[in-house]
Symmetry: C2
Subunit: 181 residues, 2 copies
């Protein structure tokens, strides 16, 4: 799923600025299953505008850079639907924390535990964040509710596993800092 398509998808929920789209992928409703950075969103929006998939309304703000408010055109909506109907590629996860945990035997045990505890805290924080969003569950689409529920289920399972196996893992690490037992 390329960045232009992701932008079209974000705009299908209403007009927005590049900054707002970025935020939707950082904090907002898409936060948990895709990401995109400024450096790819802004060029994508420009190209989308040039090819007629979106329109840009330049709103000159006093003493601020002009806000460019993008909105989907009919053609853009058709393009979005076409992209959404392509067979999806496999999921990709990138987790520095899991790499560190996998190779925990190479770092000082207390640092590995620190990473693990941070990872647990991060999961608990994400669950709390999702719970807060659940207040607005009435206005969402079926898809949004479904994906939201999946997010909660997955993060809960991960947090529970991490907490339940923490002690065992710590024991194994400290019983064998660098030499084999």
């Amino acid at each position: 799923m390329d960045v232009p398509t992701l932008c079209l998808a974000a705009l299908s929920r209403g007009p927005a600025t590049g900054y707002g789209i970025r935020k939707a992928f950082e904090d907002g409703p898409f936060a948990h299953f895709h990401e995109a950075s400024f450096g790819s969103i802004y060029p994508a929006l420009r190209r989308l505008e040039e090819t007629g998939a979106v329109t840009a309304t330049e709103e000159p703000q006093d003493r601020r850079p002009d806000r460019r408010i993008y909105a989907l055109t009919d053609d853009g909506r058709r393009r979005l639907v076409r992209a959404l109907r392509q067979p999806p590629r496999a999921d990709v996860l990138r987790s520095d924390a899991l790499v560190i945990l996998f190779f925990a035997h190479l770092v000082p045990p207390d640092e590995a535990v620190e990473v693990l505890d941070g990872y647990i805290a991060c999961h608990r924080r994400l669950i709390a964040q999702l719970d807060r969003k659940e207040d607005a569950r009435d206005c969402g689409t079926p898809g949004q509710r479904f994906v939201h529920g999946l997010g909660v289920a997955v993060y809960e399972a991960a947090a529970r596993y991490l907490e339940n196996h923490r002690g065992e893992f710590v024991d194994q690490l400290s019983s064998d800092p660098s030499k084999r037992g």
Copy 2:
């Protein structure tokens, strides 16, 4: 976690070729928490060799391109440990399937269901793949076993959620193909 570090991590388990490292990220032990492609692995190995983090043993195979077998040096191992001790960045998930499911109201209901069923099948396949690897659980490090267990727990939770909420989701989709109820 950049590709050079990932290569060093893979080589910490023993010498390997670029192709073998790629496979370890596709099928092998790292398959579920990071990825790297040829186009980034080979240049990374070259740079690593130039800077003394790995050595390359060129093995001229008859009638085949020379295999370059890379092995970690002491300096490379130190570099790996240094990288592993950096604070990890937040996890990133990229899921086309979840984007499609989120925007399921924009595509024909039967196609959305097809994507969902494919997604469920994919999860069940991954769980089976992890179960098969579990046979070799005796020789792994504590970190490897811990991460493996987490993977099983998370995929199981996801598969269960998807299966348990499939009916409800399909009902909601078909009761409202494009007009609001």
